[in-house]
Each structure stands twice: as C-alpha cells, then as structure tokens.
Subunit: 240 residues, 4 copies
C-alpha cells in the first residue's frame, strides 16, 4: 500500500518551518540542560570530597582539623554555583524549569554545610547564611527554601551516628548537647504546616533521630557517665 | 564546639524568628497553589464540555454544527487562562515552579483545539495559533512548547477513531486526507531530537495511529471505494 | 526479669470488664461478618450459574432460550439478597460498615442483569429496575448507586465480544444497534462529574468498548454487509 | 431484541432523566464529603497543637503545666466533632459510608487523649470516657470501637520514649509503673480475638513497646537505681 500520494515534499512548508523552529528550541534547551548537568556533576564531585573529609569526625579526629579540610571545598562549591547561576541566567524566568537538575545535589550540600556549621558553632546554619556561603544571595538564583529545609533534615539524620561515635570516644557530654539542638530544631519544624510530601516525609524521619539520641543520652546518664548530673547551669564553658 | 545549654525557651529566638518567616513563606506558596488548582479545575470542567460537543463528530453530526458548540468553550478557556496567568504573575519567574499543576490539563486543551482546527481547515494548529486562541501570547505566561507537542500527539491518537467512523458513514475520501496529514505530522516530529522521555513516548504512539489509518485506507482502496484514486489535485474544493 | 510485680490479677478489674465487653462486641461483629460472607458466597455461586447460562449467547444460542435459563437465577438472587438484608438489618445504620463485603459481587450481579435486560428489550436496565429485580427497593437496604454504575460499566465491557460473535454468526445489524446503545450510554455517563476513582477508571474503559464496536461496525459496513446502508429509519422491527 | 434506532436526541429521555438524577446524587455526596474533609482538616490542626504541647513532657517539663496547655485543645476538638456529627447526621445511616474520611485522624486524637489521661491518672482512658471527652456519646455518631483500640495502640508506641526520657531526667520509678500499665494493657488486648488486619498489626507492635520498657526497667534495676525494689504496696501516694 502506498502512503503519501502526491509529489509534494514530505511536509508542508509552514509545517516544516514551524518544526524547524521547534527543533532549534529543543536543541537549545537540550544543550542548556547538558551544560547544567556538567556543572552539577562538578558540584557533586566537590561535595563528595567535602563529605569524605567530614566523615573523619566519626573517627574522633580533632574537629578544627576536620573542618579545615572540609571548609576548603566551600569556595570550590561557591565558584560552581556561580557558574551554574550564569548558565541558568541565560534563560530568565526558567530557574524552576531546570531546578530538578540540581535539587538533590544542593540538598546534600546544605546538609554538609549545616553539619559543619553546627560542629563549629553549635547553632543551626540559617537559610541566609547557607546562601552566603554558596554565593546564592542573588534575587534570580537563590537557594530554594524547601531544598534548604530538606538539607537540614538530612543533617539531622547524621546526628545519631555522630553521638554514638563521640560517646565511644569518651565524650559523654555530646548527647546532651545534640539532644538540646535536635529538640529545638524539631520544635521549630513543627511550626511549619508542611504540605510538600517529600519535605514532610523527611521531617518525619527527624523524630527517629531524636529518639535515637535520647536513647544514647539515656545510656550515658544511667551509667553515671554524664558526670554533671541533672544540673545544666554551669556547663557552658565545656568543649565537646 | 560550644553547645548552647542555657535556660532559653524551647527554641532560640533567632531560630524561632527564622522558622516563623519560613512558615509564612510556605503558607504563601501553599495558598497560591490552591488558587492555581481552583482555576485548573475550572479549565478541566470547560474542557470536558468542549470534548462532549466534539465527540458528536464520531456520530457523523455535521461538522459546522459540532464546531459551533465546541468553539463556544474557547472563550471560556481563554478567560480562565487569563485568570491563571494573573495568579502566576504574582510570583515573577516562578511559572515553571507551578507548571506541573496545569500541564496535563493544558495538553488536553491543545489536543482538542488542534482537532477542531484540523476539522475546520485540514491543517495543523500552529504553536502561535494555539497561544492566540488561549490568550497566552505573552512573554511571561506562554504555552510551553513540550505541552503543545504532547497535545498534538494526543490529537493524533483520536484520528484512527475518526477515520473509522467517517468511512462507516460513507465518507471514503477521509482516510486519504487523514493519512496525508498524519504522514506529514509524523515526518515533522521526526525532525526533532526528542530527549524528553514523556514526549518521546507520546510521539512513539503516533506511529500506531499512522498504521491504523493506513489500514483503513487500504481497506477502502482494495474495495475500490476510494473512487478518486491516487490523484489529489482536484480534491481541493472538497470539504473534509 | 519479672514483669508484673504484684499479686493482683493480671488486669485491673475495670480494665478487664471493659475488654470483656470489647471482646463480646468484636465477636458479635465478627460473627455477623461471617454470616454476611456466607450469604455473599451463595450470591456468588448463583451469579456464576447465571453467567454460565448467559455465556451461551456468544455461541449464537437463541436469545429466549438463553434468557430463560439465566432468568431462573434471578429469584434465587432475590431470595439471597433478602437474606443478606435481614442479617444487615440486625445492625441498624451499619449498611456501609459491611458494604465492602458484598460490593464486587453485587456489581457483577448488576452487570449480568443489565446485559440480560438489554438482550430482552434493547434498553438500559434502570437503577430502580435493578433494585426491583433483587428486591432491594427498601429504604434501609438499597442498591448503592456507585455499585449500580460500576455494574453498568462491566456490562459495557462485554459488548465488544458479543458484537464480534454475532457478526460471525451472520447478524450484520447487531453492531449498529450496540453502537447506538453504547454511544448513548457513554454520553449519559459523561453527564456525571465522577470523583470516585474506581468508578472513573471503569468508565474510562467504556471508551475502548465503544471504539471496538465502532471498528466492527466499520468492518461490516465497508464490506457492504450491513445491507440497510446508511438509512436507519426503518430498522425498528428487525430482531437481532 | 429490538434496537432503539430512532431520531431521538443523543440519549433517550428516560436515560437522560435517570443520569441527571444520578448527577445530582453524586454531587450531593461529593459536596458532603468535601464538608466532612474541611472539618477533618480542622481536627487535624487542633490535634497538631495538642501534640506540640504534649511533646514537652519528653523534656521533663512539669506534667500539670504540660497537660494544662494540651487540655485546652480538648474543647476545640469536642466542638469540631460536634460539627462533624452535624454534617454526617444529614445522611442518616451513612456514618460508615464516610467513616474512612475521619478514621486515622480520630485514632490519633484517641492516642493523645489516652496518653494525657494516663499522665494524669495512671489509668487507661476508657472507651466511654473518650467518647465523653469528644462529645461522641450519641447513638448515631459514636466513637468506633476499632478506632478507639487502634488509638490505644498508638499511645502504647509513645511509652518507650517517655520512659527513656524520664529515667534520663532521674525518675527511676517510671519504668516500673509504665511496665505495669503496659503489661496489663497487653494482657487485656490478648483477651480479644482480633480479626481486623490493621488492628491486629497495631496490636502486634505493642509487644515491642513492652520489650523496650522491660529493658529500661532492667537497666534501672540492675544498677540498683530503682531503690523501692519490688514492693508496690506503698507507692500509691506517688504521682507519676
């Protein structure tokens, strides 16, 4: 059976012209996506280096030494996010079109930065502080709020392991401090009315981190290892 | 590291202040999403009315009569898309953040508009024409190209049924015309380098539409029902 | 380690008294459910007999003969639904508590009754007619509307097979009649704003039944087997 | 069979009339469901506030203070259940038709009320007491027994965490009391012949709560921290 039954070219000229335009547009967005992915792969690679340094904290390496190595990657990441912002800026108003391409990597970056910040200061890394560290304090390429919050949940997931290893290494005051931090963080999250399914699920996992840390604190207390007993007033000068 | 262990209230003031800000931001984006969904539900409802009118074409109702009723919904849809654009415009640069909320409904709208346009003119509804019909020819709220292309694939999926019913009703020239149209459309799509998984899958289904229409054309030809044979030159005055 | 550390009985008297009451309540609802299930199994069994008789219609057995055998089960089913209603009536206001236990069986019953009614009259079995046949026209044990509608969708699913077999047996007018019936039925369902996920899915499947019947009608027409051609005015007296 | 093949409008008048009636019925039940869901969302919101207050018990805040805040939500919930009952009462005999829409939220409410009641009295909140607190002691809108029982299982799931945190805070008598309570509760549940799959699964989880509390009690005993030993006779005046 014969299909097309005329001598006309395959497609009508206007059809061809339109699809030629589409072809160019799809190639443009396709190559933009490839350039985004290239940068994101570099981000992932720098993040892995940062994480490798940070993991030494579980082996009781001195915190300043651990942080020094990990901190070195922050500037690398800042440069990469700057590069990413430049690429995305070529398509004004399309940040969220490609957002999925750097989402999970950025959540991981936030979780590491927040853990490092907590090791250094005992406080939560604020949203604006995270943006500053990554040079994202720009109006058209910012750190998405939900990505920040998911990153914080990921950081919380690391806490039980840290506490267990610190106690093993003889730091019996760590559980109390982490418990205070996580309790506050958990209460703060509870202020939010989470409708985003993914974020809600990640937040729900924070409850298990909290329980696990409570159990470690319990172990330390019941053995009388947390020598300071129940009074917490004069512990401020202790270092972990 | 210094663990905060003061008698401060549950959360530190800065933590509380930050999460209060987050709470407001999440409520804002949540209520925006609800407003978007309300308009999208209206779009879906108008689309269903349009589709109900269009379905009569399969029962060989006169095309002008069928189109008149269906066309009446276009202005309703245009108003609704205008309403949607106003809501989305409140968050400049976040079109693609909420895009998923009106995607599939818009693809369905495009497929119906394109089918109506083809019934009327025998030609493919162009991207810009679709935008014009829906009042989307605006720089900050346009018709996403992939949504347009998916909609065209959906239209193609309706063609075999139309051809079958037209032949049943005695219109033996319909398969040839539809085959010419689908063959051109298929060839045009083949110009595109489709990397988007969903669009590629939809395009792949167009091949089956083409085969089915070829088979109907074959049935008609082999029985000598397509009396006009292969020449198409003097068919121009016929109405589809 | 020893658990309970007193000589008191295992549970406090008030606790024991309460759970003894719960035990009785749960046994009551459990045995009620068992009695319901026993009747439902009988319903299923009668339905299978009815279906076995009806299947002969696909082998071109004379319709009156097929219907006679199938009709014989209607009274059996009526008695069983009466029995079911009596059991459920023991718990006023709890029809919907146990509804799930007879749902799918009842949908199947409706689909068979509706197919039989269509074979006999060419019309759709109405909701009230279905209730009457099953003796369910009672205020406290009625035929749930969604069950009726799902049953009608199931009936539609049988139509393509029936049409194919009728044409094979030489009844070339059957596709036209079934197509008219299904087209009307499909249009009627489209009036409903279906939010129930299951029902919506079943309704969506009706579209494929319609297409399949259209294709059979097409086959018949293109071969000139539907001898009456396009005019449908004087077909009313024909018997399938 | 006689196929209807007249020139009647799209659907036969009786068909159209019937489906118009269905449309109205489905809209009615759909809008009822939406009103139910709106109240249920308010119930969920009040429950979250109650839970936020209650969580402070894990940080060793004084129980009366914790309960005061949490108790304040009981009247809010009572009003909301009254509102829900009014909506459901519009459809007599259909409580169980919509029951699934408030089930899990009500189980959560019961679990919190039961935990609060236990903190206050050391006893299990009875079914009728739960109904009274929520104003559900009505014949046509009661607290479903299985929902009550699932709620009690959820309460049990919170007990290990409470015990761990109480011991950490220096309350070494808590494990013994909780163990006595859970042992009795577990034994009481064992009186029931659970056929309901969900409830049985939840009850199975109670065994793990019991084990965990036993382990904490063991830790306390083996270290000689539970100074009061095994005698429970003179503990009656102690507050939990």
């Amino acid at each position: 059976m014969a299909g097309g039954d005329s001598d006309s070219p395959l497609t009508s000229p206007s059809l061809e012209k339109q699809f030629e335009k589409f072809r160019l547009q799809l190639e443009d967005s396709g190559s933009l996506r490839e350039r985004i992915r290239a940068v994101v792969m570099e981000i992932e690679s720098a993040t892995r280096l940062m994480q490798a340094s940070l993991l030494l904290v579980h082996q009781s390496k001195p915190i300043p030494q651990v942080l020094e190595k990990a901190n070195a990657q922050i500037n690398v990441l800042k440069d990469l996010y700057n590069k990413l912002a430049e690429v995305v800026r070529e398509c004004p108003g399309q940040y969220y079109r490609y957002h999925g391409d750097w989402r999970s990597e950025t959540q991981m970056v936030v979780s590491l930065l927040a853990f490092m910040h907590w090791l250094e200061t005992g406080n939560l890394l604020m949203h604006t502080e995270a943006e500053e560290k990554l040079g994202l304090n720009d109006s058209d390429f910012a750190l998405d709020l939900e990505d920040y919050l998911v990153g914080i949940c990921f950081m919380s997931n690391e806490m039980p392991r840290y506490v267990v290893n610190q106690v093993t290494a003889g730091d019996y005051d760590c559980p109390r401090k982490v418990l205070k931090f996580l309790t506050d963080l958990h209460a703060a999250f509870r202020m939010l009315n989470l409708r985003n399914d993914f974020l809600r699920k990640k937040f729900d996992s924070m409850k298990y981190d909290l329980r696990k840390v409570e159990e470690v604190y319990y172990d330390v207390k019941i053995r009388g290892l947390a020598t300071t007993g129940d009074s917490v007033g004069d512990q401020g000068t202790q270092k972990i």
